[in-house]
């Protein structure tokens, strides 16, 4: 499988979850496990342009596919979404942040003009216990402006 442009070839247990492959085999620790049952979104990654919960995917099933994790969002320099999150202060404990940024990226890659409702919808599978979401939503709007200006 290809994670953030890098190819990984390994014989694995067919029951190994994608999150375990990412964290334990590829050693990419930015993807977080919050619940292990697809409810919190902390483990969100992008596969073929779509946000999914990596705790509900068998690694064997995505053999050969392109996967983006948080480490692949900022290659060299910060992504505008990350810059915007920093500027507005959209982060508290930070545990949901990687997943939140990937859900946002999946949205804005497809729909840069997303409305506030669409933004709320796109991160509605990512639980955050600290921020109350509103400042994140402001961050995502700011990211839209940044991306449009690029």
């Amino acid at each position: 499988m290809i994670i953030n442009g890098k190819s990984y070839t390994k014989k694995i247990d067919p029951l190994l979850r994608l999150i375990d492959f990412i964290r334990d085999e590829a050693k990419l620790k930015g993807t977080k496990e919050g619940c292990g049952e697809g409810e919190c979104g902390a483990c969100t990654v992008i596969i073929d342009g779509r946000a999914v919960n990596s705790c509900l995917v068998l690694a064997a099933s995505v053999n050969g596919k392109e996967i983006t994790t948080i480490e692949g969002v900022s290659q060299g320099k910060l992504h505008p979404i990350q810059e915007a999150f920093i500027e507005v202060g959209a982060v508290q404990c930070g545990y949901c942040t990687p997943g939140m940024i990937l859900s946002t990226k999946a949205l804005l890659d497809k729909n840069i003009d997303a409305t506030e409702e669409e933004i709320k919808e796109s991160i509605s599978g990512n639980l955050c216990r600290c921020t109350g979401y509103q400042i994140m939503i402001e961050g995502i709007k700011k990211a839209q402006d940044k991306l449009k200006k690029r």
Binding site: E37, C40, Q92, G125, Q134
Partner: protein, 304 residues
């Protein structure tokens, strides 16, 4: 039919361990020979923004650039004990300890005349035998209350908050949506308005969960809802539009007038929602969470 209602709530909150319990924080400030200032302080960054608060107090007191300050905050062998990141006490207590350490260091730094280069300053201070490392300490003043009468001064200082909640209640399903929330809080001087607003919005959202969603269900002491699929907390689609105001009624014993904020931030939301539900449908809910079940059955009982 969806019915709109408005509700208010006010709260107060005594910060700190309280009740005469030794509520102490310690910190050190040190000028290094590399020209850096190390603030060593046991502030646990639980997400609340404690690090930023300590950094800002240090910058303000020492009057030096932020990049020259380094916080050392996570190793018990290297930092002083600053107590728990709890009881909304870090800004007030530990902030005071950092302030104390930085003031002392600043005084020491002022004892020698030099250009602005901190490396030179370090050399000169050492030459003059002036301490480049200072200890900061703060202890909150409270007294133990009498168990029979409760008389005493159990907490200091107090933080205050008032919220107005606008809700919509579907009187045929009992479903509640929180539409808009306006908050006014007095936590003294606000050290960082961004992180402070983060506390209000985050706390209020936790208050929404408390008011209408969350409950640990027990069966003979055994938790029935152990996962996020059944222990329900708010999502991005459950939050209102938030407006937040700070009344900065300066507390003279606080660092630059600041008081605690983390916990009071979540207190008025839930009762404001309960009062708004009453305003919307004329039915009062006496217990959390005000789920659609409770609301609809209460409507039904009232109409009987």
């Amino acid at each position: 039919m969806k019915r709109k209602g408005i509700g208010y709530a006010s709260i107060f909150y005594g910060t700190g361990y309280g009740n005469g319990f030794p509520d102490e924080s310690r910190a050190t400030a040190e000028l290094t020979k590399e020209g850096q200032i190390i603030i060593s302080v046991g502030v646990s960054e639980v997400g609340q923004g404690g690090l930023s608060v300590m950094e800002q107090i240090a910058v303000e007191t020492l009057k030096i650039k932020k990049d020259l300050i380094k916080l050392q905050y996570n190793n018990t062998s290297k930092m002083r004990d600053s107590g728990t990141a709890a009881a909304s006490r870090q800004t007030y207590n530990t902030g005071n300890a950092v302030l104390d350490a930085c003031r002392k260091l600043k005084d020491n730094m002022n004892k020698v005349k030099t250009n602005k280069n901190l490396e030179n300053l370090y050399v000169q201070m050492k030459d003059c035998n002036i301490d480049t490392k200072t200890e900061g300490y703060f202890k909150a003043t409270t007294s133990e209350v009498d168990l029979e009468t409760g008389q005493g001064a159990p907490y200091w200082p107090y933080t205050f908050g008032v919220q107005k909640a606008t809700v919509e209640v579907d009187d045929e399903t009992g479903k509640v949506d929180i539409i808009e929330v306006t908050s006014a809080f007095d936590a003294g001087k606000i050290v960082n308005p961004i992180t402070a607003q983060g506390q209000i919005i985050g706390g209020s959202t936790m208050g929404i969960g408390y008011a209408i969603m969350e409950e640990v269900n027990l069966n003979q002491g055994d938790i029935q809802n152990k996962n996020f699929s059944d222990y329900i907390i708010p999502t991005s689609k459950d939050i209102p539009k938030y407006h937040t105001y700070f009344i900065e009624d300066v507390e003279e014993t606080g660092p630059y007038g600041a008081k605690g904020l983390g916990e009071p931030a979540m207190l008025p939301m839930a009762p404001a929602i309960i009062n708004a539900i009453y305003d919307a449908i004329g039915v009062r809910i006496y217990e959390y969470p005000a789920t659609c079940d409770r609301i609809l059955l209460a409507i039904k009982n009232k109409n009987k």
